[in-house]
């Protein structure tokens, strides 16, 4: 197993750019529109949003790495690349189960609060999306890991921001037709517009 650790500046810039790109420029929730289910479902309260973002970060990073390893050291040598979707889903399911056990141990209250959304991270298209997209980019191990972590960072950032805004929205003077999910969607779309301002910040693929 060969893992490239480039220690000179260019590689560090490269990794930093990956982080910025996945977290902000190509934010998975607001720009690529993946993972909207937990984004809308868990953002009612700030505490549950923070718990969810921690859980998803855990899952995303691990699953990105595990998917990379599974693909490159099990599926590819055996010529079973076509099985990657199933394999990745299995990997993600296992990691989510593991995360559930950890959350239950660390904070049973968070476990209760997240409820069904914790196992639903399995079906979070952002998680599978990260695994598949990082594969498409033909990332190295480090790149895959950072890709997953950056995606998780972006997800967490957006989730927490949105939760904070939704808390304010529940007590604001919203006109009747807009109350509830409607104003939440409007807010999300405005956030998405805001994140479009990041486009062009980083050109991924270069140095």
């Amino acid at each position: 197993m060969v893992i490239h650790f480039s220690l000179h500046g260019r590689a560090m810039t490269h990794y930093f750019l990956i982080l910025v790109s996945t977290a902000l420029v190509n934010n998975f929730v607001l720009v690529q529109f993946l993972g909207l289910c937990p984004f809308m479902g868990v953002s009612n309260k700030l505490e549950s949003a923070m718990g969810m973002s921690l859980a998803t970060t855990f899952v995303l990073t691990l699953s990105s790495v595990a998917s990379y390893l599974t693909f490159h050291y099990l599926l590819a040598p055996l010529g079973l690349e076509y099985l990657r979707t199933i394999a990745f889903i299995m990997v993600i399911a296992v990691i989510v189960q593991f995360t559930e056990l950890m959350v239950k141990k660390v904070s049973p209250l968070l476990y209760q609060v997240l409820g069904i959304f914790l196992p639903l991270i399995t079906t979070n298209c952002a998680v599978l999306g990260v695994a598949l997209l990082s594969l498409n980019r033909q990332s190295s191990f480090m790149e895959a890991a950072l890709y997953g972590f950056g995606a998780a960072l972006g997800f967490s950032l957006v989730l927490v921001l949105f939760a904070a805004m939704r808390e304010r929205l529940t007590v604001a003077d919203v006109p009747r037709p807009f109350r509830g999910a409607a104003i939440a969607m409007v807010t999300a779309s405005l956030m998405s517009l805001a994140f479009m301002g990041f486009s062009g910040l980083v050109q991924v693929g270069q140095g």
Binding site: R168, T170, V171, A172, D173
Partner: protein, 620 residues
């Protein structure tokens, strides 16, 4: 000393004090009837100590302070007590309160004075005792019992006494006139309180729109220069609410009172000039608090001014003496237009916290406009003198998000109304905050009550369990005693009761036998071991409960109105301690029983090698 510090925010409402400062303080006519509410101060209402029909002199104590935070009430005229009943009193919702009604003839004024004291030479205990009997409370409108505030030295180190002569609220000029005419008394009262509290200097904070008062004070300071405590006068441009004690402390000393704290936490004591004068009067002249200086103003009065009026006088009498034009009267406000209380009737009694009565016409204080939605302009945040976020507090109060409101320091709001004053949507912000504070306090009370009920329930469970364990232990030892060969002599005698006993225990004894039978000695030992562990845990729990109780009962409370709460807290901890003790007793009973059982099975095992079971007769 020359640097000017400042507090944030604040507003500049029109002062409107000219009308009531034209004339010197007048003495109001002696009323023929006074109504003295028993709860005209912060804390527990006083309890009457006179009966209907009793004759009292001016200054006789008619109601005794109850508890730590309370004040006496004294008769303000000479006459007969004709009723002790609920009557309407100044209250935001117009509720009634128990009052002592005294009727006199409007002429006789016999004083029941206390012996005069020289505060310079009297010892602190005498002075405290005198203040206890004085009925003096904060006369700036706060109504906090002065004798409690005077004991601040017991819990805090005070270095500065601030005389709060700012009087920043529009219309009110009672302190201004008091200082113009009685500056020497106020200063002497300040020195008295400084002596009691241990303050090393006195600072008088006053707004510079009161030049006559400043002159009078400077004269008095010069005259008092031979005294030991340093007295300084600091005048500053007017801004509302510079008279708020936290704002004044920030302005004069640049010290910030911590959140939910008291001025004593930063070594400062604040007093109103009227209060200081009253404190001096009770010490030097032996006069309990029976009168106060009140500003009568408003355009519906043709003769506005300040009067010294007896407490309990009907406001209608005072306003009539100020030539009230009832046709033009639209609103009657007690206190100032910002923090005052609107009254619905004229015949309410003057209370200790009535520093001003505004008889306003409709033009002067128009009807409040209709509230409109918040436009999030942020003007309220600019005006807040406590650096809070009124807009956020508004949203949280409105949606009853109490924990968020507390997080945003709702309880640091001094309810000065500056935010409502500037709000372009005319939102009555302070009303929201008052409602939220009240709800939070009510919830906290309910939560404490529920917690206490839970502890009592747990105690009851523990007690029942202990009783059951002891009963079981007793029954077991009786059973063992019956099984023992040595007790055969007592057998026939108690065969009757013991039959029912043993028939019952026969059902139980196989179980007991299996539990502690010689066939499974390890089970018995395991039982003993787990019981010993339980005993150690129970002992630890008792020790912990004792420690917590000792710590809480010895810790100093602060002078807030949480005295009742801390009593409740101690009682709750006692219940928890009792529960822990019951648990320990239950475990020890079970342990003793298990030990006996183990010892007896060991004996049995030793005996079974000897004589054949003589216990058969007893288990019939």
């Amino acid at each position: 000393m020359a640097r000017a510090f400042d507090f944030p925010g604040g507003i500049h409402p029109p002062a409107r004090k000219a009308a009531s400062t034209q004339r010197p303080i007048a003495q109001a006519a002696l009323p023929r009837r006074v109504m003295l509410p028993l709860g005209q101060h912060v804390g527990q209402p006083a309890e009457p100590c006179v009966a209907v029909g009793e004759r009292v002199n001016t200054g006789t104590r008619v109601a005794r302070a109850q508890g730590l935070i309370s004040a006496d009430v004294h008769a303000s005229i000479t006459g007969e007590v004709i009723a002790i009943e609920p009557y309407p009193v100044p209250h935001p919702a117009g509720l009634n309160e128990s009052c002592i009604v005294i009727e006199g003839d409007g002429i006789r004024d016999d004083w029941a004075l206390l012996p005069s004291l020289d505060w310079r030479s009297a010892d602190d205990d005498t002075l405290h005792a005198r203040l206890n009997a004085s009925g003096v409370v904060g006369l700036g409108g706060g109504g906090f019992p002065t004798q409690v505030k005077a004991r601040v030295r017991e819990r805090h180190a005070i270095d500065t006494l601030i005389v709060n002569a700012a009087e920043c609220e529009p219309y009110i000029s009672a302190d201004d006139m008091t200082l113009r005419e009685h500056a020497a008394d106020v200063l002497e009262g300040a020195q008295l309180i400084a002596k009691l509290s241990g303050a090393q200097r006195i600072i008088i904070g006053i707004e510079d729109d009161k030049p006559e008062a400043i002159t009078a004070l400077n004269r008095a300071i010069k005259a008092a220069k031979t005294e030991t405590v340093e007295i300084t006068l600091k005048a500053f441009p007017p801004r509302y609410p510079s008279g708020g004690e936290k704002q004044l402390i920030k302005r004069l000393l640049d010290r910030e009172v911590p959140s939910r704290g008291l001025p004593a936490d930063v070594g400062v004591l604040c007093h109103n000039p009227g209060t200081l004068r009253a404190a001096l009067q009770v010490v030097r002249d032996g006069r309990p608090l029976v009168s106060r200086i009140v500003t009568l103003t408003g355009e519906a009065l043709n003769r506005p001014g300040n009067v010294e009026a007896r407490l309990g006088t009907s406001m209608h009498e005072l306003l009539a003496a100020a030539v009230l034009d009832e046709a033009r009267l639209a609103r009657l406000v007690m206190g100032g237009p910002m923090m005052g209380m609107e009254l619905s009737r004229l015949d309410l009694p003057l209370v200790k916290s009535s520093n001003c009565l505004i008889a306003a016409t409709l033009d002067e204080l128009p009807t409040a406009p209709v509230e409109q939605p918040c436009i999030r302009c942020g003007a309220c945040e600019e005006a807040c003198p406590a650096s809070l976020l009124p807009q956020q507090l508004y949203w949280f109060a409105k949606s009853r998000e109490h924990d968020k409101a507390e997080l945003f320091n709702l309880f640091d709001c001094i309810e000065c109304d500056a935010c409502s004053f500037v709000c372009p949507s005319h939102i009555p912000l302070v009303d929201y905050y008052r409602a939220a504070k009240s709800e939070i306090r009510a919830h906290a009370f309910e939560a404490r009550k529920a917690e206490h009920a839970k502890h009592r329930f747990e105690f009851r469970q523990a007690r029942i369990e202990r009783e059951a364990a002891e009963k079981q232990a007793r029954r077991q030892s009786r059973l063992q005693a019956n099984k023992r060969p040595g007790s055969s002599a007592a057998g026939p005698g108690k065969s009757q009761p013991s039959n029912s006993q043993s028939s019952k225990s026969q059902a139980g004894s196989p179980q007991a036998a299996t539990a502690s039978s010689p066939n499974t000695p390890s089970a018995a030992e395991a039982d003993l071991k787990s019981l010993r562990i339980a005993q150690a845990a129970a002992k630890a729990a008792v020790r912990k409960a004792e420690k917590v109780l000792a710590r809480v009962s010895q810790s100093p409370g602060n002078k807030s109105q949480h005295q009742g709460q801390s009593d409740g807290e101690i009682e709750d901890l006692e219940v928890q301690l009792a529960t822990a003790r019951e648990n320990l007793a239950a475990v020890e009973a079970r342990l003793a029983a298990a030990k006996n059982a183990a010892a007896d099975t060991a004996n049995e095992a030793a005996q079974q090698t000897g004589s054949p079971a003589p216990d058969q007769e007893h288990t019939k």
